[in-house]
């Protein structure tokens, strides 16, 4: 626990930061409904800290829905309803009294389409820290530099921090969005197809970045790219829709296992490109 937490202790309904189990996620018998439609069904899995987990599966099988369970982004959809247990570091994040804003500080998210704010590169990265009360210019400068370095973007933008975040390339924009998340020092980073709008070189850059980040962050990534899942992840979860159109977890295990020796025929068919 750092000093800021001690001074500024408030009841967030979440475990203290920097507990030994930082950034662990867990689903137990989770169902997610949009109105009466069950989008994902009976999901159960454990995600370990400081690992990269890939979620793969055909379009519409509920990958994004599953990812958005972990930071309660589904709350923004009026018709969405969650059943079952979603845990972050051992705490049920859907129980009453959990501070969703605090949760999202600790479980950050990067989206499919790069979405930098229409403000300068500096202000984009400093946005989160500023809103969370950091005013000191020196402290902000440090956070901005550190986050951009971590996101492998510093060298490319250090001379134009005051230019619009929209003026850089798509791949740079996506790394800027990652830096924006890193600036609030989360424990988990959720990524929903972060490379689908990028060229192969920009994609490789982001993958390298993920590999370096995994030493301190738990990363969960949704991807349509099998090679990417195989290259970058430690664990892979394969989702598919069943007969009543709900997404179900077909297989979950070490990426090396899933890609070389899948236990389920459907998994094998999917990763070898026979359907989906």
């Amino acid at each position: 626990m750092n000093i800021a937490d001690l001074v500024n202790e408030k009841n967030t309904g979440l475990p203290p930061k920097n507990a030994p189990v930082d950034g662990k996620l867990r689903l137990e018998q989770v169902n997610l409904y949009y109105g009466s439609f069950r989008a994902v069904k009976d999901l159960s899995l454990d995600i370990d800290t400081c690992s990269i987990t890939a979620i793969i599966g055909p379009s519409g099988c509920g990958k994004s829905s599953m990812l958005r369970l972990f930071n309660r982004m589904n709350d923004l959809i009026a018709s969405a309803r969650v059943e079952g247990l979603v845990e972050f570091d051992g705490v049920d994040i859907y129980q009453a009294g959990v501070d969703v804003v605090e949760l999202r500080k600790r479980v950050g998210m990067v989206f499919q389409k790069p979405n930098p704010f229409p403000m300068s590169i500096y202000d984009n990265v400093a946005f989160g820290p500023r809103r969370h009360g950091i005013r000191n210019k020196r402290a902000l400068d440090e956070i901005v530099e550190k986050s951009l370095v971590q996101a492998a973007l510093w060298d490319e933008v250090k001379d134009k921090l005051d230019q619009s975040g929209l003026s850089i390339s798509g791949g740079q924009q996506q790394r800027l969005c990652i830096a924006r998340v890193l600036a609030v020092e989360p424990e988990v980073i959720l990524m929903d197809e972060p490379c689908s709008a990028l060229d192969p070189i920009a994609t490789l850059k982001i993958e390298d970045l993920m590999r370096t980040l995994t030493s301190t962050y738990t990363i969960v990534i949704v991807t349509h790219n099998m090679q990417q899942a195989a290259r970058v992840s430690d664990m892979t979860a394969f989702l598919m829709v069943d007969d009543d159109r709900s997404g179900t977890l077909v297989e979950y295990g070490a990426t090396s296992e899933i890609f070389t020796n899948p236990k389920n025929q459907k998994t094998e068919d999917y990763i070898t490109g026979r359907f989906g």
Binding site: N71, M73, L76, A78, V101, E102, L103, R104, K105, R106, G108, M109, V110, F111, K113, N115, P116, F117, P118, F127, G128, R131, H132, S164, C177, R180, V181, A183, V184, P186
Partner: protein, 284 residues
């Protein structure tokens, strides 16, 4: 594709362009004609004294300064009351209100508010601001009356401008643990502000031209001096124009057109301001 097909498509396109050009001319030509007519008839009355002096001999000589100042005060008063309420209501309606029958009713009421004749707002202002709130026939009562009328526009434009901000921006902010209100304050509102401002300025320039409601709540034809407090009576350009055109025998024609020109110039000035705000924001 056959050659004749391409040719006929080309002809269709030409016809469509011709039609559009005609439509544009039909809109633009009358406006230009009106302005030329006004300038031709009114320019001889325009002078520095006309703009900076008080009227004399029931407006036949002297200037129209009190009416210009009165109209400027009214525009400012309108916006001071209508903008904050409009933005607050716009935020509530687009960000917080659930899509249920109450919200739909409110939206419909706002739509209908825009269609209420201005003299009705005048009566409303007389009953509520002048009498019930005891503000008297005054600048402030007139500003509140015009603001009530402008609300429909400021609420609608704020709501639309806020709704138009892409959801990606909101998500990007919420997803790093920024609260709902801070997201609105620091991401949504800056993005929506050109639209909000445009609506506000248009509402203001419309208020500048209103005649009927302000007669009911405090505009006067001749007031000694400029209004010294919000509770004073006041002169205003549209009412001055109405009186010099309809009620003063022997009024020189160029004075009437001169008053009209000044009013139009003020409204035009604000409309150009809107265009510039839009242009500037698009450049970003």
């Amino acid at each position: 594709m056959s050659g004749s097909n391409i040719k006929s498509r080309y002809m269709t396109q030409k016809a469509a362009i011709a039609l559009l050009a005609t439509a544009v001319l039909l809109v633009v030509v009358p406006i230009i004609l009106i302005i030329i007519y006004m300038i031709a008839n009114g320019y001889s009355s325009l002078s520095w004294d006309f703009l900076t002096q008080a009227p004399a001999q029931a407006g036949k000589t002297g200037g129209i300064l009190p009416a210009i100042i009165g109209t400027i005060y009214l525009m400012l008063g309108t916006i001071i009351f209508a903008l904050p309420v409009g933005v607050t209501a716009g935020i509530y309606l687009s960000e917080y209100a659930r899509n249920n029958w109450v919200t739909r009713l409110v939206n419909m009421a706002i739509l209908n508010l825009a269609g209420v004749p201005s003299i009705v707002f005048g009566l409303f202002g007389l009953g509520v601001f002048v009498m019930t709130f005891n503000l008297g026939m005054s600048l402030i009562a007139a500003s509140l009356t015009l603001a009530s009328q402008a609300l429909a526009m400021t609420i609608t434009t704020s709501r639309e401008a806020i709704t138009a901000v892409p959801k990606e921006y909101r998500e990007g902010s919420l997803a790093i643990g920024v609260s709902r209100w801070q997201t609105i304050r620091y991401v949504v509102l800056p993005q929506a502000s050109p639209g909000i401002l445009t609506g506000a300025i248009l509402a203001m320039s419309r208020a500048a031209g209103e005649t009927a409601p302000i007669i009911v709540v405090g505009a006067a034809f001749l007031v000694g001096g400029l209004p010294g407090s919000p509770f004073d009576r006041f002169m205003a350009l549209p009412y001055h124009l109405y009186t010099v055109s309809a009620h003063i025998p022997g009024m020189p024609a160029d004075i009437k057109w001169g008053v009209a020109l000044v009013l139009i110039a003020m409204v035009l000035f604000f409309n150009i301001l809107v265009t510039m705000v839009r242009f500037e924001s698009r450049k970003r």
